[in-house]
């Protein structure tokens, strides 16, 4: 069982390395597009800064705090976009009948789909969110502890896994409906923008959905509350701070299981 897992991981790395190499080939165009996208996305950050310049704060969160949320969410989403690109193109794959090809190989289908693409260019989003994060660290006064320093990368990683799980769910839906399900797109892009602000500002139903169904609450809001030592939500239990990796694990577990159901369905009905 673990031997198979290791085999798949090694195969994943080899396939992805090939993808990256072929992308890096067009170096000039690639750098240009990445840089331009970086600039473009930076305008989103500038817009937020403008907004906060006028309003001072949003629900008690100042520009530095919002920048922290924006940075955490942006890096997480960018990482997921980079790694999960294969699931993004899965609808295309299944439409072209390429899934059969994957089933003929002595490797896991999940691994092969994830390895089908790896988009280096998504680094533009990560880069710009990093800028936001750095600004946030300068504009806020976080009382740093060794735990918090460990917590920061862990929270970002958990967020990335959560967004990745949503990509997997989106791809899984393709096993049943031929029409591309844009709802997932809404959840990912919308979710990324949503988590750039404190979750407390949204409608009750939304908050509940994004806590218990697609737990994006744990991408940026919970980590920010902890890092900034914010007084709100003091009524929430202390262990909630540790939930990001748990939420990520749960969501990715669910999506992996549903993926398996999807593959089984494909093999029983012949697409």
């Amino acid at each position: 069982m673990t031997a198979i897992l290791l085999q798949d991981i090694r195969l994943y790395l080899t396939l992805v390395e090939s993808r990256v190499r072929s992308q890096a080939q067009y170096r000039g165009s690639f750098l240009l597009v990445t840089f331009v996208t970086f600039l473009g996305m930076a305008t989103e950050l500038v817009a937020v800064i403008f907004l906060l310049d006028t309003f001072g704060d949003i629900a008690g969160w100042g520009v530095g705090e919002i920048a922290l949320l924006y940075g955490l969410a942006g890096i997480a989403f960018g990482l997921a976009e980079m790694v999960g690109a294969g699931f993004d193109m899965f609808p295309e794959m299944i439409r072209r009948g390429e899934l059969d090809q994957l089933l003929l190989r002595p490797a896991g289908v999940f691994t092969q789909v994830m390895a089908a693409d790896f988009q280096l260019r998504r680094f533009s989003r990560i880069g710009q969110a990093l800028v936001a994060l750095i600004l946030a660290l300068r504009w806020t006064s976080i009382a740093w502890t060794p735990e918090k320093m460990l917590y920061l990368p862990l929270a970002i990683l958990s967020g990335a896994i959560m967004f990745l799980a949503v990509f997997v769910l989106g791809a899984t839906l393709c096993f049943w409906t031929v029409e591309s399900v844009e709802v997932i797109n809404t959840l990912t892009n919308g979710g990324s923008e949503m988590t750039g602000y404190p979750m407390s500002i949204y409608h009750d139903l939304m908050q509940r959905f994004f806590t218990f169904v697609i737990p994006l609450l744990f991408v940026s809001y919970i980590p920010a509350l902890y890092l900034l030592d914010r007084p709100e939500r003091a009524d929430w239990p202390g262990w909630i701070v540790l939930m990001p990796p748990v939420a990520a694990a749960c969501l990715v577990g669910v999506s992996y299981i549903l993926w398996g159901v999807g593959v089984r369905h494909y093999r029983s009905t012949g697409s």
Binding site: G40, F50, A59, E193, I201, Y202
Partner: protein, 263 residues
């Protein structure tokens, strides 16, 4: 003239066939509208007014903006550029109609369809769920309609210029992405220009992008008194014409180049 009307009609019906994408796109529009509405609601806690705008104004702005996104089509229109890459553009250039006029008519047809199938329903959603304001008078509504037409024209002008650059640029995607982000930023879609710092606002208001979202939204909200209203529409018209002139100039340059180099 009849030819162009026919092109408009054809483009309209063609756009109408993309039914599946419509519903999905609506969901995205509405979701973003909802998110941004809540951001403003939170921003306005403890205050009634910001730079002369009330929360109602801000919410209305959000939904008018979302409704306009598809009609002005600020993201990803590469039809001409692709035709240039594939060489098909020659067939268009050799036909006896006006190149600019042809593509403008196409876009008009598409825009009409998008207004009906995406714009209006999105606005309706905002009306029903967030109780946004309606145009204050018939005159107001008519000026808004005129402003929207001009907004689409400006957006087309920009997209046209970008696509034509494919004649000269090896990689048109870079500028394309830049244009898309510039449009979404300077048009005031992300944050209305009224909430920008003064220095930035002055710059943005001089650019054509503001004519794509901000100006029509201002008209809708009735923020412009008669003189200013006329001035705004003239501003849009001026940019639309300027972009058209630039586009037509470039096309004739391109045709010469194509003829000289033999495609």
């Amino acid at each position: 003239m009849r030819l162009y009307l026919e092109i408009v009609r054809r483009a309209f019906s063609r756009q109408l066939t993309y039914r599946a994408a419509t519903l999905a796109g609506m969901a995205t529009n509405c979701f973003f509208g909802i998110l941004r509405s809540y951001v403003f609601m939170a921003a306005y806690t403890g205050r009634v007014d910001a730079r002369g705008w009330t929360l109602d104004d801000a919410l209305t702005y959000v939904w008018v903006g979302q409704a306009l996104i598809m009609p002005v089509f600020m993201w990803g229109w590469w039809d001409i550029a692709l035709a240039i890459r594939s060489g098909d553009v020659v067939t268009y250039l050799s036909k006896p109609f006006d190149f600019y006029g042809y593509w403008l008519s196409q876009d008009a047809g598409r825009a009409i369809c998008h207004t009906l199938t995406r714009g209006a329903p999105t606005l309706m959603f905002g009306l029903l769920v967030f109780d946004i304001a309606l145009p204050s008078s018939a005159l107001n509504a008519l000026s808004f309609a005129a402003s929207v037409v001009l907004a689409v024209w400006i957006s087309f002008g920009l997209r046209f210029l970008l696509n034509i650059s494919a004649f000269w640029l090896l990689d048109y995607r870079g500028p394309g992405i830049l244009l898309m982000f510039a449009t979404s930023f300077f048009s005031g879609l992300l944050v209305p220009l009224v909430f920008w710092p003064d220095w930035a606002r002055t710059i943005a208001e001089a650019l054509p992008f503001s004519g794509i979202i901000q100006v029509p939204a201002d008209v809708y909200l009735g923020k412009l008194a008669d003189g200013a209203l006329l001035g705004a529409l003239v501003f849009q018209l001026a940019w639309a014409l300027a972009l058209m002139l630039a586009g037509r100039r470039l096309i004739s340059l391109a045709i010469t180049r194509v003829v000289v180099q033999g495609g």
